[in-house]
Every structure is written in C-alpha cells, then in structure tokens.
C-alpha cells in the first residue's frame, strides 16, 4: 500500500488503540502489525510527534518482568482529534466502498 496513505491511517490506529486504555510502545506496535503490514520502527516517530502535539502524555510504569515501560495516555485534545479522524475515515471508507460496489456490479 502507498506509504503516505499508510502513515495517515497509522495515526488513526494508534489513537484508537489508546482510546480505552493506556498502552506501552511495544504493545501498540504489535497490535497494529498483527493487523496491518508496517515497518514497525516508524510507529515511534509517530508517537513522539503526537506526544509533542499534546495528543498524548507519557509516564513510566514498572513491569513485572524487566525494566519500566513508557506508557502513552490519550489527552482530551487527543480524544477530540481521534473522533474527528474516525469521522473522516468513515466518510472516506464509505465513499470508496460505494465506488467499489458500483464498479464491480456494473459489467
């Protein structure tokens, strides 16, 4: 898939995953790469950017195994942005699906 397109979608994926619970970076990467083929390293630059834009806050939490992990927490600003993105995505997806449906049905 187109790289730029994927990047935009990746932003949405990360925000969605943080909507219900805080997660650490590795967890986010795994959740996304289970569903979509991505180069995993590019998730961290995205997380940094979104943190700088104040969509997330971060905190360190001890883990039962190994060193503490950096958790990402959605801010109110982030949540508002997420809802905008979801709306945009659904409109976009509906539009494309409609085109596919028409395109495939008409022979």
């Amino acid at each position: 898939m187109n790289v730029q397109f994927k990047k935009g979608v990746l932003e949405l994926c990360v925000l969605v995953l943080l909507d219900k619970q805080d997660r650490y970076g590795y967890e986010l990467v795994q959740k996304i790469s289970d569903q979509i083929e991505i180069s995993e390293g590019s998730v961290y630059p995205l997380l940094r950017r979104l943190t700088n834009e104040e969509y997330f806050t971060t905190y360190l939490k001890e883990s039962s195994e190994g060193p503490p992990r950096k958790y990402y927490k959605l801010t109110i600003k982030g949540r508002t942005y997420l809802h905008e993105l979801i709306k945009e995505w659904q409109e976009f997806a509906n539009g494309v699906n409609q085109l596919i449906k028409e395109g495939v049905n008409v022979d």
């Binding site: 590795y26 180069s39 630059p45 940094r48 700088n52």
Partner: protein
C-alpha cells in the same frame, strides 16, 4: 542487524539532535528490543521488523525541523537563525566570492590581452602618424603577428568563458544545496 548495530546506526543518523533528545529516542528502541527479547524473539528478527534506522531517523528529523519552525519563534531561536544566516554569509563570502573574483580576473586579463594584440597594427599606424620619424617596418610585421595571436586568444577566451561560466553556475547550485540543510546522504 543486531541491537547494538541498529542503535549505533540510528544514533549516528540523529547526530544533529541534542544528546538529551537522542537519548530519549534511543530509549524507546532499547525498550522495544528488550521486550521483544523477553518474548523470545532474536535481535535480528526485531531489527528486521523495525526497518531501516536511516529511514526512521529521516522521519524523526523531518518532524523535528518542522516543529522548530512552527512552534518556537522565541527570541533565542530568532537570534540563532540570524546568527546562522550571518555565518552562512561569511561562509559564502569565502567559498563563492573567492573563486568568483579569481575567475573574473582570468576573464579580464584574457580578453584584455586578446584585444590589445588584435589592435596592435592599428596602434602602430597611429604611432606612425604621430611620430613619423620613429616608424620601423619591423613594428608593422610584429604587430601583424600579434594581431594573429590576438585572434587566437580571443577565440580561446570565448570558449573558456562559456565553459567556466557553466562550471561556476554548477558550483553555485552545489553551494546552494550544501547551504540548504546539508548534502543529501543515506
């Protein structure tokens, strides 16, 4: 690629960032490797799915520069930008003006020599009119020879000017890319 190789490559690709920022970024990847290793993956596997460190660095640097321009127009930042521009000016003064003056010197000297040689028979004639008693036939022949040499010099200078101008323009373009955020390297 091992964990160490990956981190080293990323570190050197991010050398433009401050040490604190770089450490912070590397820490994310160290954490990623550590958790992956706990889950029984090998360093090579983890590095492979992370992708190229240079690509990651590019993404990080791009957003870092954008941020700087967009968010912080503090006095310190503006001062730094102005200072950088002045520094650039000094740099260019030496790097661009130096060769430019040297080239200009070559052009002027070459064309002046050519023109003087070509005009020499005329000058001999003028001399003969003004001071008829110093007139020598030898001067006439020498001046005609010089005129021929002068024509060759002029033709040579014509091509040299064209070639050197083109070369200098290319050099200027190179200089501009050099000044604009460094040369591209992967």
């Amino acid at each position: 690629m091992t964990k160490e190789q990956f981190l080293k490559q990323l570190d050197s690709a991010l050398s433009r960032l401050s040490t604190v920022e770089r450490q912070d970024i590397l820490q994310d990847y160290i954490e990623h490797f550590d958790i992956g290793l706990e889950e029984g993956k090998t360093e090579v596997q983890i590095a492979a799915s992370l992708g190229s460190p240079n690509q990651i660095a590019k993404e990080l640097l791009a957003s870092y520069h954008l941020e700087k321009v967009e968010t912080t127009a503090s006095a310190g930042n503006i001062f730094r930008a102005v200072w950088a521009a002045i520094g650039l000016g000094f740099f260019n003064l030496v790097i661009v003006l130096g060769p430019f003056v040297a080239l200009l010197g070559v052009f002027v000297a070459g064309w002046a020599t050519g023109a003087a040689f070509i005009c020499s028979p005329l000058l001999v004639l003028v001399n003969a009119v003004i001071n008829p008693d110093t007139f020598l036939l030898f001067d006439v022949f020498i001046s005609m020879a010089l005129c021929g040499i002068g024509l060759f010099i002029a033709i040579g200078m014509y091509f040299a000017t064209k070639a050197l101008t083109r070369g200098f323009v290319r050099y200027l373009k190179f200089n501009v890319t050099l000044v604009k955020g460094g040369l591209k390297r992967d």
